[in-house]
Each structure stands twice: as structure tokens, then as C-alpha cells.
């Protein structure tokens, strides 16, 4: 039961990650490979707010959302003109820079040693220490985040975002403000993944930079590509599949030194197969190209 709950809590966290990335890729056509870095910024911000400043659980999550979205604002204001390969290169650079900061900014992040003893959720003097309680409170938080994303997607903002994805030039010629749209999409997605980072930090109770590497960004990207983009269920399916794969590999009883490599090979193979046989993903609507 506790193993299943552990997987379900991980699914909740990565569902938020995949849904927020889907907003960028599936709805906006903006390929992002720095999502793990923003996830890490959220995790570190929340962990520092909780452990150093003693702020509450919810204010810590809000702080994580704010810090991640402000960072993405800085990046997207300067990078909004770029599309396609150039934009991917910029987001790759952001991933590398933020990871380096987490690793080397010893005074704040404690570098490779990470931050320990991150507290469990406490809301109005109620401690959510058990797995069941954590799962329950995460259901509420993830549900609210999903509602916010759905409201944004169903609003004129979502329609404009899809128009920009389909044809940016045609969108601009209709007066759709693509610059503002990109900035807003990045801020919203980064705020969401920042909160997911906070949820991750609180659940694991220990974070270090190795959880926020480029590999992790590619895993997040894989969730969206495998599950499918452009609708709600695609990224959820992708998150479930990509969380299940390493768990299934456990049954093969591979040595630890080999298991990690096999996992990466399995992800790579899955991505190649999906791109070839089903570019729209397992349950997606938009054909990823």
C-alpha cells in the first residue's frame, strides 16, 4: 500500500510538471528543455523558505511559484523573438546555467550537499506527515493547479496560444500579441512547475542539484511527447508511463550500476518509437513535429 501511495504521490507531482510543460509545447509550440531547472528553482526556494525563514507550507509554495515565474520572465523577455532550434538552444543554456548555480552557490543552496530536513506540509497547525495525509493534501493542490491550467487554456489566452503555435505570422497579422503570449505562457508554466518542485522537496525531504539536471528535463519532455500534447489527458498518460517504466525495470533485478543506464536506454528507445509510429503520442491531440 505504501509503495503504491509513493508512486501515486510521484504521479501527482509529475502530472503538474507534464501539464505545465504541455502548456508550452502542446498549446504554444514552444519547445522547452529547461523545465527541470525551474522545477529545481521552485524546490530550492520552497525548501529555503521553510527551513531558513520558517514560513508556512502554502506561502512557501507561493514563493516557489513566484521565484520560478520571475526567472522565466527574465529569460522570455529577452528570448521571445526566437523560435525553433534557436529557442531550444536558449532554453538549454538556461538549464545549464541554473544547474551550475544550484551546484556552486554554496552559501545558499549548500552546493552538492543539498538541503536536508525539509519539513512535511503543515497547514493551519495540521501536520500532513503520513503518506496518506500527504496524498490527500496533494490531491487538493494538484486539483487546484489543474483547474487553473484548464481555465487558462479554455480562455481567449488559450485560443491565441494555439493560433500562435499553428502560424505565428498569421497570428501577428491578426493583432494577436505573440510577445506577451510567450511571456505569459512561460510565467504560468514556470509558476506551476515551481509549485511542483516545492511539493517534491516537501515529500522527499531532501534535495540536491542532481535531481534537476538536463537528464531530468529530458525525462519531463519525454512525458509530454510519449503521452501526447494539446489536450489534458496526454501528459497525464505520459507521466504515468514514464513513472511506471523504472518501477517495471525493478522486476528484472538488474544490478544498480546497470539499471540507471537501462532506464535511459528504455526512455530513448520509447521516444524513437513514438516519433516514428505515433508522433501525436499515446493520447495526444496535436501532432508533435
Amino acid at each position: 500500500m505504501s509503495y503504491l501511495l509513493h508512486l501515486l504521490i510521484f504521479f501527482q507531482i509529475y502530472a503538474v510538471v507534464a501539464m505545465s510543460l504541455n502548456l508550452l509545447i502542446g498549446y504554444g509550440g514552444l519547445l522547452q528543455v529547461a523545465h527541470a531547472a525551474y522545477f529545481g528553482v521552485g524546490a530550492y526556494t520552497a525548501a529555503l523558505l521553510w527551513t531558513k525563514l520558517g514560513v508556512g507550507f502554502i506561502p512557501g509554495l507561493l514563493g516557489a511559484a513566484l521565484m520560478s515565474s520571475l526567472l522565466s520572465l527574465l529569460v522570455s523577455l529577452s528570448a521571445w523573438r526566437f523560435r525553433g532550434d534557436y529557442f531550444v538552444m536558449i532554453s538549454l543554456a538556461v538549464q545549464v546555467v541554473l544547474y551550475s548555480l544550484m551546484y556552486n552557490f554554496m552559501d545558499i543552496t549548500n552546493g552538492p550537499y543539498g538541503i536536508t530536513a525539509i519539513p512535511k506540509p503543515v497547514i493551519m497547525d495540521s501536520i500532513f506527515a503520513t503518506q496518506e495525509a500527504t496524498f490527500a493534501i496533494y490531491v487538493v493542490i494538484v486539483g487546484m493547479l489543474a483547474f487553473i491550467l484548464a481555465a487558462a487554456k479554455l480562455s481567449p489566452f488559450g485560443l491565441s496560444l494555439q493560433a500562435m503555435r499553428d502560424d505565428e505570422l498569421a497570428a501577428r497579422s491578426l493583432g494577436i500579441p505573440v510577445r506577451r503570449l510567450k511571456v505569459e505562457a512561460f510565467m504560468l508554466a514556470s509558476a506551476m512547475v515551481g509549485v511542483a518542485g516545492g511539493l517534491y522537496a516537501s515529500y522527499i525531504s531532501y534535495i540536491d542539484p542532481t535531481s534537476f539536471t538536463l537528464d531530468e528535463s529530458i525525462l519531463m519532455l519525454s512525458m509530454v511527447i510519449v503521452g501526447g500534447t494539446g489536450n489534458v489527458r496526454g501528459p497525464l498518460v505520459g507521466a504515468a508511463v514514464l513513472i511506471a517504466i523504472p518501477e517495471l525495470l525493478r522486476f528484472l533485478s538488474l544490478p544498480d550500476t546497470v539499471a540507471a543506464h537501462i532506464r535511459l536506454l528504455a526512455y530513448g528507445l520509447l521516444l524513437i518509437l513514438m516519433m516514428h509510429w505515433r508522433p501525436q503520442g499515446l493520447a495526444g491531440r496535436y501532432r508533435f513535429e
Binding site: 479554455l154 480562455s155 481567449p156 493560433a163 501577428r172 493583432g175 505573440v178
Partner: protein, 261 residues
Amino acid sequence: MEAVAENLNETITLRATEDVLPWAVRTANLCLAFGGHQVLEGLNLTLQAGEAILLRGENGSGKTTLLNILSGLIRPDAGSVLLHLKGREIDVTGSSPERIARSGLGRLWQDIRLFPTMTALDNVLAASAELLDRTALAGITCWPLIRRQERVARERALHNLALVGMADRSDSSADKLSVGQMKRVALARLLQAEADFWLLDEPLAGLDQVSAEEILRLLERFNTDHGKTMLVVEHQHERMAPICGRMFFLANGHLQPERSV
């Protein structure tokens, strides 16, 4: 003495015409060169509000380039472009394409450029002038209000689709429509965007006779009944000429008037 009186009369007549029909677009000494080739050389063009002009020229003569300058996609090397739409004047050369579009300029692209993954209705709805400024934050925090505004815009979009005879295909995916249907949806999109000055790049290209007649009928209607100002680039000039008041030929960077109706 008679000559002076004749000149005076002519001036008065011209001024009277300008008072009745204010100018909508005015380019002055427009110059642009690509790789040493002078595409436009001191081009002057004025369109009165509600006027339809046909622009002809050989392939590569700079017709689409002129449309790109008017849309704000290319900056000319020299010269100015002023739009006078919806009671406001805007300098195109210093504005973004988005701002120019919002001031009332709309474009029918040669390759149509509908949003292929969206329905015909959503294609039109995405152009709604009243929804363009709605931010993501507004969509989240003022959800009921935004939904109400969207409902109004949706009704207007359906009305505009009906005007172009596409109401029954509103739920069809844009990439499943024929070329003629796509062009009609694109025209509905211009209506939805409340564009007053239409740049039409080869509106009849790729159409059979029946579809071309339908597009011509619509363009004539939007010009005469809705007062849309139009600059039309079209190779099939003999078909387009009857609905255009003036015709120009673009060659060697200069505009030459061909006919005045």
C-alpha cells in the same frame, strides 16, 4: 485667365473629393532594395477610404513586398507609410505588425494561412478584436466574465461565417476545407478582426470558376456595402477589374496607372 479658372475649379473639385472620401493609406517616396536590386523606387500611392485598387505586375516585381511593407513585416529603406483608419493615424514604418493589425489593417495571404488544427469557427474567433487583450491572469481570475465576452464574440464569429456562406461548416477542421472554403473563412476572419483596410494577395489563385465568382461577389459586397478599403494583388486582372476603381502596374519599382473608372 480661362486657364487659371480651370485650374482653380480642378483644385476645388479635388479638395471636395478628399473631404468626402478621406484617405486611408498614403505612401510617400517608398524605397526598398534587396541585394543590390531596387525593388521599390520612390513609390507613391494613396487610397481613399472605401476604395478598391488592383495592383498588377510581373512575378518578382515587388507586389507582395509592398504588401509586406504595408503590413509592417518589412521596413523600407526610405519613405513613409501612413494609415488613417478608425479615426486614428498610424505610422506603419515604426510599428509592429500586431499594432498595425489592431489599427484596422487585415491581410488575406496568398497561401491563406488558416490555423490548421483549429475549426473554422475557432479560426474566426481567434481574430476577435475584443478578446485580444485578455491575459492569462484575466482568464483565470475573471473566468465567468471572460466566458460571457467569449460567448458574444462567438455569436459574432458565427454571424461572420454566415456572411461568407460558411455557417454550416463552422465545426469543420480548417485543414479539411477546400481552397475556396478556406478563403471564405479567411475573409470571415478579417471581418471578425474589424479590419477596415484589406490587403488581398491573389484572392482568386487556385480557385475554379464557381468558387472564384463567389469570392468576387463577396469582395464586391464587402467593398460596397461594408465600405472596406482594398488593395488587391491579382494576376487574373480581367476578373478582378470590374470591382476595382483603379488599376496600377508595378514595374521597375514604380507604379504606373493603367486605367481609371
